[in-house]
């Protein structure tokens, strides 16, 4: 309604954000020199930027980034699909949930990244172990959110559909599935950032391609700027994945009042 009054704090916030960015970049560029920190500990911004150009031209930065993005996408999509599928199946069968819940809980507690070396032993230095770690790590937030959504659905809503003589399939597609969408997207947002973590850990453990590999390569060469470049690129990849989910979420959940960007993470 009152867009004028609401826009000005929004603008203030954006301006403050931008100012913070400038201060941060300036501190990065001149801070280490002023404090006498050697460049092999914290390389200044300009050095990292030069390294970025070098990595792009010589170290195939684009290839490594592309491979990481592909692994993240594959792991995220497969992990979300699997998580949603299992979530719906368990949601519709309380008996199955009861039987499987201790194992699911155990698997959820186990640190998924710890499986990375195992998967590499099984599948070698390919992209598959990385994707598998991402699948495993994305699976849980999506499954748990879908399951919780189905568990907490208002029974009167189901009764309403039943009173109209809805079949089991109609109840699922017309009531349960749409009800589970907002919590599922909350799970997908978490999954999008976790997928990057899973892939990077996989790449750190073994392989010769991907940003995680570039990270260890830079470490081995004591090439601190390259490590920084890799970290920045990983952050960009994670950010793109997260934004992608938000964009899809906005289209799917357009009916919800005033969506906040990154509201609940």
């Amino acid at each position: 309604m009152n867009s004028g009054a609401r826009l000005s704090p929004l603008r203030k916030g954006a301006a403050a954000s931008l100012a913070l960015l400038v201060i941060f970049l300036a501190a990065w560029q001149w801070g280490p020199g002023l404090l006498g920190v050697p460049t092999f500990i914290v390389p200044p911004l300009s050095m990292v930027a030069r390294e970025f150009v070098y990595a792009w031209q010589v170290d195939h930065l684009l290839l490594h980034t592309g491979v990481t993005i592909a692994e993240v996408l594959a792991g995220f999509i497969l992990g979300s699909l699997l998580g949603a599928l299992i979530g719906y199946l368990l949601g519709m069968s309380p008996a199955a949930e009861l039987a499987l819940s201790p194992y699911i809980l155990a698997l959820q507690i186990a640190p998924k990244v710890a499986f990375a070396p195992l998967f590499i032993l099984w599948m070698g230095f390919t992209v598959y172990p990385k994707i598998l770690v991402a699948i495993l790590i994305v699976f849980f937030p999506v499954m748990v959110n879908v399951l919780t959504a189905l568990r907490t659905i208002d029974p009167d809503l189901i009764n309403l559909a039943r009173s109209f003589k809805a079949t089991r399939a109609q109840i699922f597609w017309k009531v349960e599935f749409p009800t589970s969408m907002p919590p599922m997207f909350a799970g997908l947002r978490i999954g999008a950032t976790l997928a990057v973590v899973g892939v990077v850990v996989g790449e750190l453990v073994g392989g010769n391609v991907g940003l995680g590999y570039l990270l260890t390569f830079g470490e081995g060469q004591a090439d601190t700027p390259l490590v920084f470049v890799s970290i920045v690129m990983l952050t960009v990849v994670g950010g793109i994945a997260y934004l992608g989910v938000i964009l899809i979420e906005r289209r799917v959940l357009h009916y919800l009042p005033a969506r906040r960007v990154g509201g609940d993470i």
Binding site: D156, L157, N159, L160, S163, F164, Q170, Y255, L256
Partner: protein, 274 residues
């Protein structure tokens, strides 16, 4: 418009209905015991009684969502064995689906029943027109006020063209002024479409102004202890009925019967059961 019981055929009947539930400590809780009554075609009957006397249980049995422990419910002379298309219910909660527009919410029931799309749209359009909601057809539920949402819920209930409406405290969550308007809309609609309805309410004035008869239930285990025929004209216009001095006499009589002072005290300790 006949205000007294219509001499038509029986639309809804409860015959010796008893409902027992297992309580948490493994005991047996009798919610309603030996309830029998009939509602004839075009009649509106209210059911009043203390909290937890099993009013909503009776409604669930009538709509086929739960089966009684003993006894039978009949709709149009047929035994209720599960949800059926002749009965539609409406609750205190509007139960609108947030991802559906107002028109799509009204069409929810007819869509499930595979009514062809043009017919669905026609019914939704007519009902929204009738409830002054036509301009909100494309809005989403969160954009509507509580009273409008309840009217959409009523439109959804009527869209399936049921013979019998089961209404469980449909207006108890809206403010007093909106409630009067909604009662007027309901009274008018029920009279115009000659629908049969069973209305559960805590609001004695609502029961008296909207009904042909009022059934009074006892505390748990709920049984019907009295039946009062409301002999006041204008059942189609609850606002006009409010002005009738006889209405207040009926309300006073119901208050006596329910022993309101006593019940109010007890509600503090006993929870609001099924």
């Amino acid at each position: 418009m006949p205000a007294s019981p219509v001499a038509g055929f029986v639309r809804l009947e409860y015959r010796d209905v008893t409902m027992r539930f297992a309580d948490r400590r493994g005991g047996i809780l009798t919610a309603v015991r030996g309830v029998s009554f009939c509602i004839r075609d075009g009649e509106v009957v209210s059911l009043i009684g203390p909290s937890g006397c099993g009013k909503s249980t009776l409604l669930n049995i009538g709509s086929g969502l739960t089966a009684p422990s003993e006894g039978v419910a009949f709709v149009d002379g047929e035994r209720v064995a599960g949800p059926n298309a002749q009965v539609a219910f409406m609750l205190q909660k509007d139960l609108l689906l947030p991802w559906r527009s107002v028109a799509e919410n009204v069409m929810f029931g007819v869509e499930i029943q595979h009514v062809p799309l043009p017919e669905r749209k026609r019914r939704a359009g007519d009902l929204l027109e009738k409830f002054n909601l036509a301009e909100f057809a494309g809005h989403y539920p969160h954009q509507l006020s509580g009273g409008m949402r309840q009217r959409v819920a009523l439109a959804r209930t009527l869209a399936v063209d049921p013979h019998v409406l089961l209404l469980d405290e449909p207006f108890s969550a809206v403010d007093a002024q909106t409630r009067i308007v909604l009662q007027r809309d309901l009274g008018r609609t029920l009279a115009e479409s000659r629908k049969t309805a069973l209305l559960i309410t805590h609001d004695l004035l609502e029961a008296v102004t909207l009904s042909d008869r009022v059934l009074v239930m006892s505390r748990r285990p709920g049984a019907i202890v009295d039946e009062i025929v409301i002999d006041v004209p204008h059942r189609n216009d609850p606002i006009a009925r409010r002005a009738d001095p006889k209405v207040n006499e009926y309300v006073a009589r119901l208050m006596d019967q329910l022993d309101i002072a006593h019940t109010a005290l007890e509600r503090e300790t006993a929870g609001d059961g099924a």
